[in-house]
Amino acid sequence: MNVYFIKDQDFNSFVAKMMESKKVVGPVTKKSKFVFAALEAPEQLRLDYDVTILPPKKEFFPTCQSLMKFQGNHCEGCINPEEKIILGVHFYDVKAIDMTDLLFREKNEDWNYLANREAATIIASNIQNVSSRAFFASVGKEVTPKGHDAFLTKLKSGYLFETLTAKGENLVKFGKFESASDGQKQEARSVNDVPLKKCAEALKHSSKEIAGKVRKSFANESFWNEAAKDCFSCGSCNIVCPTCYCFDVQDDWNLDQASGMRTRYWDGCLTEDFACISLGAGAVENFREHRGERFRHRIMRKAAYLNEKLGGPACVGCGRCSSACTPNIADPVNVINKLMEA
């Protein structure tokens, strides 16, 4: 669509005007970390964040989401999307959102997710600071970020604002924008190249080579058991992952014992009971009983199983799993590079 420029001094007023029109969610500080949260003032916005604890996926797929209210035999869905603008999404999270869009749309369309997703306007932004565990420059290079409505790049004296959809173009009315010059467009290209050179970690092989080798390693039990020796099965790597989309569904009654709620919660395949299934008559089978099997399963899902469907690996290199893992064993770069050399 169009490419605009807005001066630094006019930026907060642009954010404030958007906030008057609808809820604006963006990166803000939480102690020493960052989280996506509804902005209360434009000054809270921290576009210089490195990475957030949870990915912006939570805006469409809340960690605990009401699915259905029931009263006796009558039930009612809880889909009630709120229009919002998500501001400051890094390109790796844009890629991840595009993947969850596909996964929640294929076969049975999941409107509990899709309704929230369609009500959102996503403004991506350039990465001003690179998290120490990020490896987005070397993973899934064949996957193009798409699905966002606009892209914001911090330049020396303001911001370049590229609109990509009608939703994105519709935001231009909130700010004092002018057409971007060729020089500003050139500056934005250079700015967006910088973080790609700043990742401290890198995969050494192509997605295709990795997928092949990872699949072939399935039977290499000693590798996976050794890799998972210190694994707590705590599921932190799953819960912080922008492309994980598994959930558990539970029903709860209200005190009246006649009405209640069906809720879904983010779940993780690293946890012990994830693969527990009922065999009937109270019997249970866990088809990934050992921690090595669960550890292997995550790497298989991220590096191999979904590649054909998604056009690349289900990993975007955000490094959240690496940071969240207290024994420091979840880092896909360490696991995959070691496996490629095995």
């Binding site: 970390k33 210190d230 705590c234 969240a324 207290t326």
Partner: protein, 249 residues
């Protein structure tokens, strides 16, 4: 659906979980009484009931003399629920299991008094069959309600076997380790909603361990990430999980 007959019993404990029952507030408690009938509760009434649908037992099993009373409760109850850490796992009481000199340490010159004699502190399940456990110190009153609701509807209550990290991350809490602290959320059974870590306090695993905690990794992480000495790292998890550790006495 007729009212379920419910009875409450207490053994070795601070009775804090009974206090927690009173924290529902009038409205919730009176609503609950539309669905249950309390037929025996030493703290509140003198009647005894020949049988009941659910027996709630608080406290740990610490005296052989209590076995008979527990067996009698089991005979009269269709379902037995051990509620609170002491009943579910032995709780903090089990700390003494590793310290033969606990009486001298606590009572000094009065250590020889006969009424202080007791055996190891064990969960109720060491004496009788327990159908469900409500973990936590104190137990979570809402979890107890959830379990009662499920039983009233003939459903099996789901009690988490994943660690506190799952609930902590869902709340987007800054990890204690990223705040230069320690934590045992990686091995602690969830269900509390990560209330302590969300308040900036390390998880002490008051709900006990998940079914298969990685104890070796916990010691390693407490040493490497939190700077604990080996002995402190080795004993750290004992406060609430003495009976669940691989070195349980």
């Amino acid at each position: 659906m007729g009212k379920a007959k419910v009875a409450f019993f207490d053994f070795t404990s601070c009775e804090g979980c009974q206090i927690e029952l009173t924290n529902y507030g009038d409205a919730a408690f009176l609503e609950l009484l539309n669905h249950i009938e309390i037929v025996e509760f030493r703290e509140a009434m003198s009647e005894r009931a020949p049988s009941f649908d659910i027996a709630f037992i608080e406290g740990s099993f610490t005296r052989e003399a209590d076995r008979e009373r527990l067996e009698d409760i089991r005979k009269r109850a269709a379902v037995v629920i051990a509620y609170g850490a002491c009943a579910a796992t032995g709780g903090v009481n089990a700390l003494k299991n590793h310290q033969p000199d606990y009486k001298e340490a606590v009572y000094g010159k009065d250590a020889g008094q006969p009424h202080l004699d007791s055996s190891k502190a064990l969960p109720i399940s060491a004496a009788i069959k327990v159908d469900y456990k409500v973990y936590g110190c104190p137990m979570d009153k809402y979890e107890l309600l959830r379990i009662v609701s499920h039983l009233l509807h003939g459903k099996t209550p789901v009690i988490p076997n994943y660690p506190v990290c799952v609930e902590c991350k869902r709340r987007e809490v800054v990890c204690r380790y990223d705040d230069n602290d320690h934590c045992m959320g990686q091995v602690a059974r969830a269900g509390c909603g990560a209330i302590c870590t969300a308040d900036g306090i390390p998880c002490e695993a008051c709900r006990g361990f998940v079914d298969h905690p990685n104890e070796e990794a916990l010691v390693k992480v407490l040493k490497e990430r939190a700077g604990f000495t080996d002995s402190r790292a080795q004993s750290k998890s004992r406060m609430f999980t003495a009976n669940l550790r691989s070195d349980a006495k």
